[in-house]
Amino acid sequence: MLKHSGSQHIPDSDLIRIADGELSAKAVSATETHLRSCSHCRARLDELKRGADSYDQYHAQVLRPSVELPEAWSSVAARLRKLDETTRKPVFPAVAMWWGVAAALVCCCFVVTWSLYRESPTRRMQQLLTRAAVATTPRYRRVKVIANGRTWYRPATLEGETAQRPYTDERGLEETRAQFVKASYKWDDPLSVRSFAAWRKNLPSRRDRVFSFQDGTEKGRFYRLETETAAGVLRMATLTLRADTLSPVKGAFHFEQQNDVTIEDAGEMPEPPGKLETRNRPQTQNRPLPEPSVVKEVGAVEELRVFAALNAIGADVGESVSVDIAPSKQQVTVAGVGLSPDREQQIRQAVAGMPNTEARFRSGQASAFVNRLPDTATSANAINDTLLRQTLEKQAGGAQPFQTIADKALDASSTILQRAHALYVLAEKFPPSIASHFDASQQDVLRSLRRRHAIVIEQAATDLKSSLLPLLRGTAGMDETQTPRDTSWEVGAAQLYEEAKGLDASLGRILGGTYSQEAGQRFWNKLPDEIQRLEALAVSQEKAP
């Protein structure tokens, strides 16, 4: 992507985001300045708008009306009621009436006993709070505070002077801080189980509720602890915990005067520099105290944190972004080339609050991974008029279906290559000799990053296989199962990257048409094996400990 200055033009992807209102206000301002002075970009923006408008019109006036189905709420309602009846009233067969009665009596006894001894919400909450208080949580965290329609980021825990008075970045939060202090809720550590428990314990009257739920968009279960009270200025506090680690991820606070405050976990951060004195309290007796001063020399741990932060915004895949330790070993450098201002801002925000981390960006051509996405508009058209191509088109059912298959296959291959590269970078940066010095939570972070990449590769390999299925019919080797040799994950990652490069090159040649008839046939014949090997390597990566 290009910086929008001088004679350089705004890329289509940014123009489309401008038209869709998906660029940040700052980025829009920069691009508007360029647009005012560049007739080429203005004309291109208009072209793209016409293209998008034509689809919107087609969507609204042709497509939607032609596929709409009549409402059938009555049948949905009937199914909802039936669902309720089945869950509430189990039906016993008539022939087993007496057995049913006996079973009902036993059930009644069980229910009475259970209701006598079952956990009340208060008791369940107490148990969860006790367990959560000793659970391991990341040592240094940031939180996002949303209050009065504004958002702030701050360290999760404030200590020393900063706990008593707001520091520079937090001045706008003074009113919110005052509310917490008035409610006797610890402002220096608001997103913590201990603070929640301490506030709850001192309430003269309260009503507790505990919910367990699955997030619709994220994988994983959560507990929501909710305490309501009629006393004090803080009328209701809700703390959401991850079910697996019991670490708090979100707190919601409803104050007497109807103003709500939300505090969310914003990820890990290294220990901030000296005067701020912000760190998380160790959660167990055995946990070593955090280092008291600024990090003097950075290493793999800091680098891993940066990777995790980039992964959270999807910037560790397919972007021209690199993470390295500076030669002085005093700083982790995040370097990006040719990113949009919006993306640069996102990356800066992702690593904000991480001392000894610097983000540097420069304009220019993006790396191979950004531009590697094949231009499928021309790739399939450019294919040579060879016998192989004719055969493939025939198998696909014509030139048009063949082009669609080529598009899908190249998309999948591109995804595989990007993810395999990201995995390979992790393997190079954090081999076992380095990862063995990580503590359990850091190893979890690394494992989680690796697995995410492996799962996507596996899915993309399946998609690739499906898309090529009509063309590969009759080709040997597609159903063979190949098990990779037992190797460590970093060796497997290197093999996977090599396989991904080989596969992408083969596909590019075959579907892009740059081959002789003989070579094309050779690439084609080995394609099923290449896909199979890559899939097996991805599965092996996913399962690697």
Partner: protein
Amino acid sequence: MAAFHLFAVLPLMETSVLPGSPETKAARLENEIEQIYRQTHGTICSYIRCLGVLQSQAQEVAQEVYLRLYQTMRKGEEILNVRAWLFRVAHNLSLNVQSREKRFRPLDPDWERVTADAGESPERAMLDREKARKVRSALETLSPQQRHCLYLRAEGLRYREIAAVMSISPNTVNEFLKRAISRLAEAVNA
């Protein structure tokens, strides 16, 4: 670049735990589901159809989406963005239906039929026939993922929401849309 915003209210809507007896709770929950159904049924059904699910099965899949919403809300689970949740479940269920049928479709036959029908019915569309034909031809050259991104964008979903529905990153959504809209622009500006 006007997009459909059928869900002007829904983004603000979060599911909640309802107080009262089980019967009252069930009745209120049913009302809540009915409201959501009436606001979203058309668009969810259309999306299911455009994912390649046959008309005979689409109504069934759509009902399953709302049954799952009911079950999820009845358990007291929190859904922060109902419309994205509905699209995501519809997306997954539709793919399951396709996978169960074990039919491979390089181009969704329903989509082809739909677009062909649309082109043959000028009284239904205010679009110029020639323009509709160009758009339809351009759509046929797009990958299903690019078409799905366009569809969801036209339904008013933000890139972040489209990414959640399709289990891809917002950057990939941007890339798919860039390629799709560029091709549409080529077609209509030619």
